[in-house]
Symmetry: C2
């Protein structure tokens, strides 16, 4: 080893011991007769001192050092006169006797500090320097610890981690695949897995009983902010279980992670049906860090001559506690907020329940004080509250009001990232109508089992109404995982493909091997997958997943550091029996 | 849960308890008035009994069951009259009160037993049934345990598991890349990693200090037997270390695995230089389960008029203890063995040291008994031994004699797969001359550091002689891992690329980001990688890695189960700006 100690471990008890440290120069301060150097490694920072009186040559050498030089330093630990209580090594410093410059460094293009002066592009291009910043290092350290906790917990529960293949068969159903041309099978392609879904189901057919994998998955989608073409999933499956068993098992896992990593304990996670989540929060991933539930108002809102409400399918609102004092300007800003194209509402009605018991609203023309009192009763509003009401088509207005609710939560500081509100959302619809393609798509995926109360009758009568045995885990308004009970019966699976508009031939061509497996004794099974990048971000109270991935790509799917993707040799193309189509030609 | 117990856990103490089991029908035996059913799950096999006298309907139902049906069975545990000492549940059976058929099964195309009647192709096509065989299940269970042991060991040693990207930049150096066309960056391609080499080095530049990852890697090579296009590596890197530190750290890991998984302890692993490995075993991965070291014989073999030896660069042989009794037929077979094209020798000389002290050899015409005694002295041969001698160009004859040595080891039963002989091989040459391309290639990879005793002088004078700080771990004649100290100095790295025939521009174009990183303070670092599939096979005493991978591909890189790779839609090709070149056109 080139060192005897790390830069994070020396304490007052180590005084007078001789040590060798290795690390990077964080800072050099020359005080004229002595130099202070902060030496940094993964484990911490230790202060080095070179004194002109003790060793003139060493002092002169120390002045030539610069930020991010790599040093091997030998010296004696001594007590600091001026202690730094902010760092664990702040009681000591090293009186240096020898400095060995292991490598020099150009001046980095941005500062290596938690609050760096580097912009996004620059940080991505020099990601290896960005990763030196303690804040990012801590993210990846936490990611490692979480992965370890997950693996050990699931292993203790008899789950086996089994690696499934990365070069698999492309299936047009679902999101777009990344494909990989095969040289040995010319003109044919592999696909990279969007998830190991079919393989984990096959493992259940094989009798593996409990499977998990922390595994990379791939989706070639147009990248919205904070999506990555490759992402990591905690993928799990169990046999001989029902929905309840899966929820309990993975609730146990998530609680374990919170307890071990953050010291937070939870009661039983609440559960909410998809129908209630939509009705009360306008979202299948409700943010339950604050209440502000939706109140439906059709009975008090309609019939008073206000055509906007009268013509609406649904009038629905939220009550912001203690916000009756909102100014005109604040209310206008809220109206502007819901009218933004991202939300798309036509307008917003407010009703202030003033401290003096009177109401002031934007619909005073149509509604008397008594009428507005009925609104307040519906909301359970108190004096001083602000009621915000929207109207329109049911699903649309719910989504719009959801955006407003979240905005109010933010404005009222009700969305502390470290206040964790966890819930299961259950009873998702099995199918989702797609207007554009004029067909149903599987809401979760085509292997999800229908709720037997709705099958087969409802699937024939009103497919959109069939509930699935599908569930999501939601933390602070973010879906961190989801899964379902799977179909394990070949006939039911065929019936599902039919409902999704597949011909029998198409279904067999694409999913034949899974369908085949179902004929040889498939057990009842169910599972779920968590988004690991997202889970890591939530544990650190962060919004973006990018700084929880060592080498992420930008929104065009590019790695700015290695300038990838890039062009390949004609020889490589020839070997793959491929030619490029010029972009302008298409 | 659909069960209260598994099929592997009931014991005599559980008698009289009521249980529900789930599993697959392994076997049904109808004895006329009662049926015995073996029910199998991942955890074991439990015997079920249905008695016509107890429940006639149930008995009738039990006769309709067939192999691989999936059952949920309720009944009472009772002591067996006819105990089966071969299985842990052999003391008990279940007196069945209810059978619920969870799924039926077609008759499998081969038997679900360790010694199956299924051929390779059939087993691959129905891999989900093949995986039901206990022998394969145990392989994957062991793989899971090994991965857990590795992760926990390395975590305890402060290593962080950090995920590196799968969609990276293609580099023509090294083996052939699998490439992935980018839709968002038309005509450009990602590559799948052959190893995370550059990324783990960047992590060291980032200060992560100790990194590991159990990770899939990809190589588009013509598949020799027992190679897979995707394989799993235990990838590791450390900063501020020298070769000795890496060897000690990972020797500790391997010892830990042997102790925990197999109860085998080792002394310090022996070390052998590459030069000695070649000289004494003719291979850089010597099988040390048996001795039979090479003996070089030039001084006793030459100058006696036998031109084959006189003209050879090297005369070298092995001594097979106690084999002087080999018959003419056996010796002819050995000669045939070395003459096979895979070995490629011209012939084989034998010298029997008979029990009566005389010698009998195939070169009696040229060598007197006294001459042959000199051979025997060289070999340290005893009466009753057989000396086998070959000659030719040094490297060639060593390789040929290595094949013969392994063959003799096999014939003499000296290669027990559960007798583990481990060794480090060190001091590999830095460069390897390629006749075809008339250039040097990096023997390990272009980032390997030269031994400072040989650098820079020897690199100029005789590049092929430069020793690298590179090392392999060899178990039972198989390379299970290897690594090197890396170059961390930009100038030395440029000098290496130069020696490999890169222009400065080409080196920068391909490895610019790593070269760039070296300018910002790269620490001294070193690492290694183990082949995880191979390691798993060795732990199970197996030759082939295929049954240690859940869903392997065949020798054409095909997955026979999903029939992959396969053709993709024209729409997918269009989106990727690609067109296919018909195979006959090229």
């Amino acid at each position: 080893m080139l060192r005897t100690k790390t830069c994070g471990e020396l304490r007052i008890d180590d005084c007078n011991s001789k040590v060798t440290l290795c690390g990077w120069v964080q800072k050099v301060r020359d005080l004229g007769s002595m130099t202070f150097i902060d030496l940094r490694d993964r484990y911490g920072i230790t202060q080095l001192v070179c004194n002109v009186d003790t060793d003139k040559n060493l002092y002169e050498q120390s002045k030539t050092l610069s930020r991010e030089y790599v040093l091997q330093v030998t010296g004696t630990v001594r007590e600091r006169s001026n202690k730094n209580k902010n760092i664990p090594t702040g009681d000591i410093e090293i009186e240096v006797s020898q400095i060995n410059v292991l490598n020099t460094a150009k001046l980095p293009p941005f500062t290596i500090e938690d609050n760096t002066d580097g912009g996004d592009e620059l940080r991505m291009k020099y990601r290896y320097l960005d990763l030196r910043r303690p804040v990012i290092r801590k993210n990846l350290e936490q990611r490692h610890r979480l992965a370890q906790l997950i693996r050990n917990y699931l292993s203790d529960e008899n789950f086996l981690e089994i690696e499934t293949p990365f070069l698999i068969r492309s299936t047009p159903e679902g999101a777009r695949d990344f494909v990989v041309p095969s040289r040995m099978n010319p003109n044919q392609f592999y696909a990279l897995p969007q998830s190991p879904q079919q393989y984990k189901q096959l493992l259940m057919v094989s009798g593996f009983d409990r499977y998990f994998q922390i595994v990379k998955c791939f989706r070639d989608e147009d990248l919205r902010a904070d999506r990555q073409p490759e992402f990591t999933q905690i993928d799990c499956e169990m046999s001989f279980v029902e929905q309840e068993d899966v929820l309990n098992m993975f609730e146990g896992l998530i609680k374990h992670l919170f307890e071990k990593e953050k010291g937070i304990t939870f009661d039983k996670f609440p559960r909410m049906t998809w129908q209630d989540a939509m009705k009360y929060y306008g979202s299948d991933k409700p943010d339950l860090r604050f209440d502000m539930k939706f109140t439906e108002l059709n009975d008090v809102a309609k019939g008073k001559g206000f055509s906007v409400f009268d013509d609406a399918e649904l009038v629905v609102g939220i009550c912001a506690k203690g916000c009756a004092g909102y100014t005109r300007k604040q209310l206008d800003a809220l109206t502007e907020f819901v009218k933004r194209p991202q939300v798309g509402a036509k307008g917003l009605v407010y009703i202030k329940y003033n401290e003096d018991g009177t109401f002031k609203s934007s619909i005073d023309k149509f509604y008397s004080q008594e009428d507005l009192m009925k609104f307040a009763d519906k909301f359970g509003a108190d004096k001083g509250d602000l009621m915000l009401v929207m109207s329109g088509k049911t699903m649309q207005v719910r989504t719009q009001l959801c955006a407003l609710r979240l905005e109010m939560g933010t404005q009222l500081n009700l969305r502390d990232p470290f206040n964790y509100a966890v819930t299961w959302v259950t009873d998702f619809p099995l199918l989702e109508w797609n207007e554009e393609d004029q067909r149903f798509y599987a809401m979760h995926h085509p292997f999800t089992a229908p709720n037997p109360e709705d099958y087969p009758e409802m699937l024939d009568k009103d497919p959109g109404k069939v509930r699935a045995w599908a569930y999501d885990l939601v933390i602070n308004g973010t879906e961190v995982g989801g899964g379902s009970v799977r179909i394990h019966n070949r006939d039911m699976q065929m019936r599902m493909f039919e409902a999704l508009g597949f011909t029998k031939e198409a279904a067999l061509a694409q999913f034949g091997f899974l369908m085949g497996a179902f004929e040889y004794g498939a057990p009842p099974h169910a599972g779920l997958a968590f988004g690991f990048d997202r889970l890591c971000a939530i544990f650190a109270g962060a919004d973006s997943i990018r700084d929880f991935i060592a080498f992420p790509k930008n929104n065009s799917g590019r790695d700015l550091m290695s300038d990838s993707p890039n062009y390949i040799d004609q020889k490589q193309l020839d070997e793959l029996y491929l030619s490029l189509v010029p972009v302008e030609k298409q």
